[in-house]
C-alpha cells in the first residue's frame, strides 16, 4: 500500500491528494524562505492559530443556511477572515502599545486559539450530525479528502508559487536592505503586505493537510534547511520548495498507507529530517564538513 501510494498508484483520488500535498509543501517552502529572510517567521504561527474561530463560525453559518457545513471553500473563507482579524489585532498591539512583537504574537495566537477551541467544543455539543472532521483542522488529515478539496489546495499552491516568482526581486531587496529598496522606488510596506497575504494563503490551503498547529513548521523548517546549502536567494527558495514538497508528498503517502496517523505531524517530522540531513551534510555550512576542516587544521598546526 505504501509503495503504491508513493508511486501514485493507490487510485486516482489518493494520487490527487498526494499531488496536492506536494504542491502545498513546495509553496510552503518557497513562501517560507522569503518569510524567514524577512524575519517574520513567527507571524505565520499567529496567522495559523487565528484561523480556528473562523473555521467554527463558518461551519455554524453554513449549517444555519441549511448547508452541509463541511464545504472546504466555505470553511477556508471563514478561516481567512478570522486570520485577517488576528493580523489586524497584531498590528494594533505592536503599533499602539509598548508590547514587543513576540509578546503580541503570543497574545493574539493564544486568545484566538482559545476562542476557536471554545467554538469547536460548542459545535461538538450540537446535533447536526456533520461536525465530525472539524478537528482535522488542528493536526491535518488527508483521509476522506474530496477531489474538489485536493484541486483547491493544488490550485492555491500553484497561484502562491506564481506570485512569489513574480515578486522575487522586490521581496529579496526589501528583506535584504529595506532602506535601499525604498530609495529605489519600492514600497517595503506593500511587499510586506503581499508576503503576509501569501503566507495566509499557504496557511489556508495547509489547514486541511497539515493543520493549523503545525503549519508554521512546514513554512520555516524547509527554509532553515535550505539556507545550509546555498548563498543565493533563488536557489535557497527552490531548495526549500523541494524539501517542503518532498515532505508533503511522502507524508501524504505514509498517511494513506497507515490509517489513523494524522498527516500533519508526519509531514512535519519528514521536513525536520530534511533539516537534520542538511545541518549535518551540507557542503561548507554542514556540521560534518566543519568538523573535518577543524581536524585537518589542527593536524596541520601540530605538524608545523
Amino acid at each position: 500500500m505504501m509503495l503504491e501510494a508513493l508511486l501514485l498508484r493507490a487510485g486516482p483520488n489518493a494520487t490527487l491528494v498526494t499531488l496536492a500535498a506536494l504542491t502545498l509543501g513546495f509553496a510552503a517552502g518557497v513562501v517560507g524562505a522569503f518569510l524567514f529572510l524577512r524575519k517574520r517567521a513567527l507571524v505565520s504561527d499567529a496567522i495559523a492559530h487565528a484561523t480556528l474561530p473562523g473555521v467554527g463560525l463558518a461551519f455554524l453559518a453554513m449549517v444555519a443556511l441549511g448547508g452541509d457545513g463541511r464545504l472546504l471553500a466555505g470553511l477556508l473563507l471563514g478561516a481567512g477572515l478570522s486570520a485577517l482579524l488576528g493580523l489586524g489585532a497584531l498590528q494594533l498591539l505592536t503599533r499602539h502599545t509598548r508590547l514587543p512583537e513576540d509578546a503580541a504574537i503570543g497574545a493574539v495566537l493564544s486568545v484566538f486559539y482559545g476562542l476557536g477551541i471554545v467554538i469547536l467544543t460548542l459545535i461538538q455539543g450540537l446535533n447536526t450530525g456533520h461536525q465530525a472532521g472539524l478537528e482535522s483542522f488542528l493536526l491535518g488529515s488527508t483521509a476522506g479528502m474530496l477531489r474538489a478539496d485536493a484541486l483547491l489546495i493544488a490550485g492555491g499552491g500553484a497561484v502562491a508559487l506564481a506570485l512569489v516568482g513574480l515578486m522575487r526581486r522586490p521581496l529579496t531587496m526589501v528583506a535584504f536592505d529595506p532602506g535601499y529598496a525604498t530609495v529605489m522606488g519600492l514600497r517595503p510596506r506593500l511587499y510586506d503586505l503581499a508576503l503576509m497575504v501569501l503566507t495566509l494563503g499557504v496557511v489556508l490551503i495547509g489547514l486541511r493537510v497539515v493543520g493549523l498547529i503545525l503549519i508554521v513548521a512546514l513554512l520555516i523548517t524547509p527554509a532553515v534547511a535550505a539556507r545550509m546549502w546555498t548563498d543565493r536567494v533563488g536557489v535557497m527558495a527552490l531548495v526549500a520548495g523541494a524539501i517542503g514538497g518532498a515532505a508533503g508528498y511522502l507524508g501524504a503517502a505514509v498517511s494513506a498507507a497507515v490509517p489513523g496517523v494524522p498527516t500533519g505531524p508526519v509531514i512535519v517530522v519528514l521536513a525536520f529530517a530534511g533539516f537534520v540531513l542538511s545541518a549535518l551534510f551540507a557542503p561548507r555550512r554542514g556540521l560534518v564538513v566543519r568538523l573535518l576542516q577543524t581536524r585537518a587544521l589542527r593536524r596541520r598546526m601540530r605538524a608545523a
Binding site: 513574480l166 526581486r169 530609495v183 529605489m184
Partner: protein
C-alpha cells in the same frame, strides 16, 4: 564654470524632522551644487544621517521642502544613488557580492525583466571599478568591513546615477579601502556627478572634499572648504569641544 546654470542636485528648504516630540533637525537650509563633492560634518546626534534619510523619504519630514535637480523625489529617483550605513544590512543574508551589485540594476530590470549577460557584465564592471572583481562570488557577510563598503559603492555605481548620497562611507574601513573609495568618488565628481557624504574625520576634509555643510540640528555653515571650514564655524558646530584644528589640517 560656464554654460547654462544647472539646478542644485539637492536643495533643502526649511527642513525639520522630529522623532516623536524630539526635534532632530530644525529649519535646515542647504544647497548641494551639481558637480561638487560635499562633506556633511557635525557632532554625534547632530542629525547628519537623518538629513540624508529625510531627503530620501526614509524618515517622515515634519516641515520643509526637498528638491532633487529642481524636482520632487519621485520624479528624480533614477538619478539618485544611496549608500546606507553598513550597520543597516543583514550580514547573514544569502547574497553574494555580485548579487548585491545587481540590485543596483533593479530599475532597469523591473519586475519581470530577464537578467541578461549585459547585466552581469555591468555588475562585474562596477565591482572592478572598486577593485572587488575577485570577490564577486563571496557571500556578503564573508567580506571584511572595507570590502563590504566597496560592494555597496559598486551597487550605487551600477545605478548610473548623477547624485550619490553616502552615509559614513569611511566608518570602520581600512586605509586602503578609504583611498580606493575616495578616488572613485572624486572620479565621479570629475565626470560631472554630485557627491554628498556624511563624514567624521575632520583632518581629511580639505583633501577629499570641495564643500562642507556644518550641521548641528540646523545648518551652521555651508560653502567651499576654503571659506566655510573655519575654526570659528567648527567651534559653533561642535560647541567648544573641537576635535582638531582645521587651519593646521589645511596646510
Amino acid at each position: 564654470m560656464s554654460g547654462p546654470p544647472r539646478p542644485d542636485a539637492l536643495s533643502l528648504r526649511g527642513l525639520s524632522v522630529h522623532y516623536g516630540v524630539l526635534p532632530v533637525l530644525e529649519q535646515v537650509e542647504a544647497h548641494f551644487a551639481p558637480g561638487r563633492m560635499t562633506a556633511i560634518i557635525g557632532p554625534n546626534g547632530a542629525g547628519k544621517s537623518t538629513l540624508l534619510k529625510a531627503a530620501l523619504g526614509l524618515v517622515p519630514v515634519a516641515a520643509g521642502e526637498v528638491r532633487f535637480f529642481g524636482q520632487p523625489l519621485a520624479a528624480a529617483r533614477a538619478r539618485i544613488a544611496y549608500v546606507p550605513q553598513r550597520a543597516s544590512v543583514d550580514w547573514d543574508f544569502p547574497v553574494r557580492a555580485v548579487d548585491v551589485v545587481q540590485m543596483g540594476l533593479y530599475r532597469s530590470l523591473g519586475l519581470l525583466g530577464r537578467r541578461t549577460a549585459a547585466h552581469r557584465a555591468k555588475a562585474m564592471e562596477c565591482l572592478e571599478r572598486v577593485g572587488m572583481q575577485d570577490y564577486a562570488l563571496r557571500q556578503i557577510g564573508a567580506l571584511s568591513g572595507g570590502q563590504q563598503q566597496r560592494v555597496f559603492l559598486a551597487r550605487a555605481l551600477a545605478q548610473g546615477a548623477e547624485l550619490f548620497l553616502l552615509d559614513e562611507p569611511f566608518a570602520g574601513v581600512d586605509a586602503a579601502t578609504e583611498s580606493a573609495i575616495v578616488s572613485v568618488l572624486q572620479g565621479l565628481r570629475d565626470g560631472g556627478a554630485t557627491v554628498v557624504a556624511v563624514h567624521h574625520d575632520l583632518s581629511t576634509v580639505p583633501a577629499y572634499f570641495d564643500r562642507v555643510l556644518l550641521l548641528n540640528r540646523t545648518a551652521i555653515a555651508e560653502g567651499p572648504v576654503a571659506t566655510a571650514f573655519t575654526r570659528e564655524a567648527l567651534g559653533r558646530t561642535y560647541g567648544g569641544t573641537l576635535p582638531m584644528d582645521p587651519e593646521l589640517a589645511a596646510q
